[in-house]
Symmetry: C2
Subunit: 445 residues, 2 copies
């Protein structure tokens, strides 16, 4: 849909045309289109969306648009919206609204829904409980396929997903039946005969990242959430899992780039917020880089005697940093994908050690040859090459172990990425370099 | 399931017990369990899996297990497996098998399936055509809900997903009906009345990454694939989309850590392969770091006169590198999420410029103060602080623009991450530093 045409029609108050456009567009695209409107136009346009689609569009809007709409809605409009909105989307909305609007919403829903919302709001942030919905299809084990289908026809329309159905007995989960089974199996089979009893479930307190991993591992559409008494309280659906995966990847990448993760988009966050999210890391890293500087100062005599030594510092520091980043990146990603765990540390170290020997030998040779040809100085070539091999071995070992230790001690392994590793490795490489140089050139410190 | 118990039962030839365990476990876990078995045990265990589950387990196995099984299977076993295997999984399998086994498989399927497989194999790698399946539910626009449901009951069982149904007329896609609609709407409504006509589709040549993005944007379960004549040829299902997202993220992270991406897992790849995937980048970066070294050599007189200057090189280089990485990481991630595009470059540069002023001022102040207090040298403090501000501004501008240019020229923006940015920024920071130093200390070069 062309934005300009839509705006023009809206401003010309061509409601019929606007309505028919909104009628065929899907909710995600309508929300994106509306994000470009002024507040007043937004309210007008929102009221022209077909009733059946309005809640879905609302759920796809950003926070400031939602706040504005909740604020200007009449009581009746708000009630209509909340009736259509899935419970998990309502909770998402409440988590980000200012307090006065939260009160408005809680007053607009009935007692039963209010209780459910309050329960959901009480689960820890980023837990399965906080992202789940309590609307799902429940069946009895004695139901036949025919009965199940007619039960769904009567009650299913307001459930977020009806493709995975849950066979319950006194709120205890006995088994899972897919809509595919219901649609393709014999009408007289009972749920007890059909249901899958090896159930993959999570608890209300399971971290959302763990939940999301189960989705991609088992290709699930929904996962049941059980409370501490093993009673079923809700489901997490695959669209929420996809959002979580995206969110967690963004967070990991920010950390790996030495930025404090933020939930706001790039343009959404102000210049001041951006600066705040970056200064802390820069400060920490700057201070540790200062140590590297101090070590260099200690060897002032060395580079006074052989000034050329200084010119290899950037190459050694960078190569060390890059080698360390390579290892830490692979380990961080492997940990995120559950490819290995802490107990594999020795296997990993041994592998990285062998890789670093190969890489080190190759780079040292290339570099040593270059230095010898350029400066005709065999000692210098040997000093730089030896330092390079040692730096590469140490960088790779530091790069692969630190993320594993972070994981072991329940930190996010992503903090042990390029920036931090680089700074740590810098100090090591400069120390190794000058140590080797003073030895080979017989310099005094 | 406890691995040891399973092994013991298998070795003791307790087939009944093994079979009943395999009966309740799900396909993903069985595949994981089997990956720990020796070849011979693997063949034995695989034959004990219930027929209905065997193809699903097979699809979840790694390549070497699949190759082994295809090789030892009898003609009959192979036929049975291929009958149950979804077409997209069959194509995945063929793409990774040695040629003699490919021939074996193509001979085992019937003419019709062979033609379909060959068509799928001919689509470009990583295109929608290569990941799609040709098995989907098609309906006619005159079908009623009742007719549609009975059509699905007859034919649906072998379709990979039946949750999104396609209304076709002469293979042209008229609209989409969800299984939810079929299960909850009135039995006498026709597909024409029910169907969604604003269709999100892709072409056979669309890149799989673009396809995956549509899934998370619109929370889709399946997406129809059209050929060049706009005729429907298949669907991509959400489980494939999730795999693609995971694969692409892994690839991006590897690139951002200066590693050539590989499809093999960490332990799966040999030491030699690991070394090969890392050396190229290290070599390129090492050569460019050598330039930084040469620039330093040019200013030999400067640090001969003021040796302390050398000790601030690591801090400036690291801070510049980190600032650049911060910006490039945010931009790379934003591009991956379609948060912005090349045309936003000036808006982004302006934002990064303001952020760098704030960050620069803060860090320069902290650093200048420290240097002044430690060395009581106001000129030195000014030189380092000014260099720091200039470095930070330039790093952030380089860091934010390079990924945008990469995208513009159809490279993967992820290559413009920490390692490359760091090396480029290093050269700049050292140049700026010595330029300012020679000016303020009135040194001759």
């Amino acid at each position: 849909m062309n934005k300009e045409i839509f705006m023009d029609l809206l401003q010309a108050r061509e409601f019929k045309a606007v309505r028919s456009i909104l009628n065929v567009m899907n909710a995600v695209d309508i929300a994106a289109l509306m994000s470009e409107l002024e507040d007043k136009e937004l309210a007008l346009a929102f009221r022209l969306i077909p009733k059946t689609k309005a809640a879905d569009v609302f759920a796809n809007m950003n926070n400031s648009m939602q706040s504005y709409l909740v604020e200007i809605f009449t009581e009746k409009e708000l009630k209509e919206l909340l009736d259509e909105l899935f419970l998990d989307d309502t909770v998402d909305l409440l988590e980000d609204l200012p307090a006065n609007l939260v009160t408005r919403i809680l007053e607009a829903v009935d007692q039963e829904k209010r209780t459910k919302i309050n329960t959901l709001l009480n689960y820890p942030e980023d837990s399965a409980g906080s992202v789940m919905t309590t609307e799902y299809v429940d069946l009895k084990k004695t139901d036949t396929v025919r009965q199940a289908l007619s039960h769904i026809k009567r009650t299913g329309i307001h459930k977020e997903t009806i493709y995975t159905c849950y066979v319950l007995e006194h709120r205890r989960l006995l088994g899972i039946v897919s809509a595919k089974d219901l649609m393709t199996m014999d009408d007289d089979l009972t749920m007890e005969e059909l249901m899958e009893t090896e159930i993959i479930s999570v608890s209300t307190h399971t971290d959302q990242e763990e939940v999301a991993k189960l989705f991609s591992k088992y290709d699930l559409l929904a996962i049941p959430v059980l409370d501490q008494d093993d009673l079923m309280v809700g489901i997490v659906t695959f669209d929420d899992a996809m959002d979580v995966i995206e969110e967690e990847t963004t967070e990991d990448m920010a950390l790996m780039g030495a930025v404090t993760p933020s939930e706001k988009g790039y343009f959404e966050a102000s210049v001041f917020e951006h600066a705040k999210n970056r200064i802390v890391w820069l400060l920490v890293l700057m201070i540790s880089a200062t140590f590297t500087g101090m070590i260099i100062t200690k060897y002032e005599n060395a580079f006074a005697a052989v000034p050329l030594l200084v010119s290899f510092i950037p190459m050694l520091m960078d190569t060390g940093g890059n080698c360390g980043s390579q290892s830490s990146t692979l380990i961080i990603r492997g940990l995120a994908l559950d490819e290995f765990e802490f107990k594999d540390i020795f296997r990993i170290m041994f592998k990285e050690f062998r890789v670093s020997l190969l890489v080190g030998a190759f780079l040292a040779l290339a570099n040593g040859l270059r230095i010898f040809l350029m400066y005709k100085d065999i000692s210098l070539a040997i000093v730089v090459s030896l330092s390079l091999v040692a730096t590469i071995i140490i960088s790779k070992l530091i790069g692969c172990t630190l993320p594993l230790f972070a994981k072991k001690f329940h930190f996010d392994p992503a903090i042990m990425a390029a920036p931090l590793i680089t700074t740590i490795v810098d100090t090591c490489s400069v120390m190794i370099y000058f140590q080797i140089a003073t030895m080979i050139f017989h310099l005094s410190v």
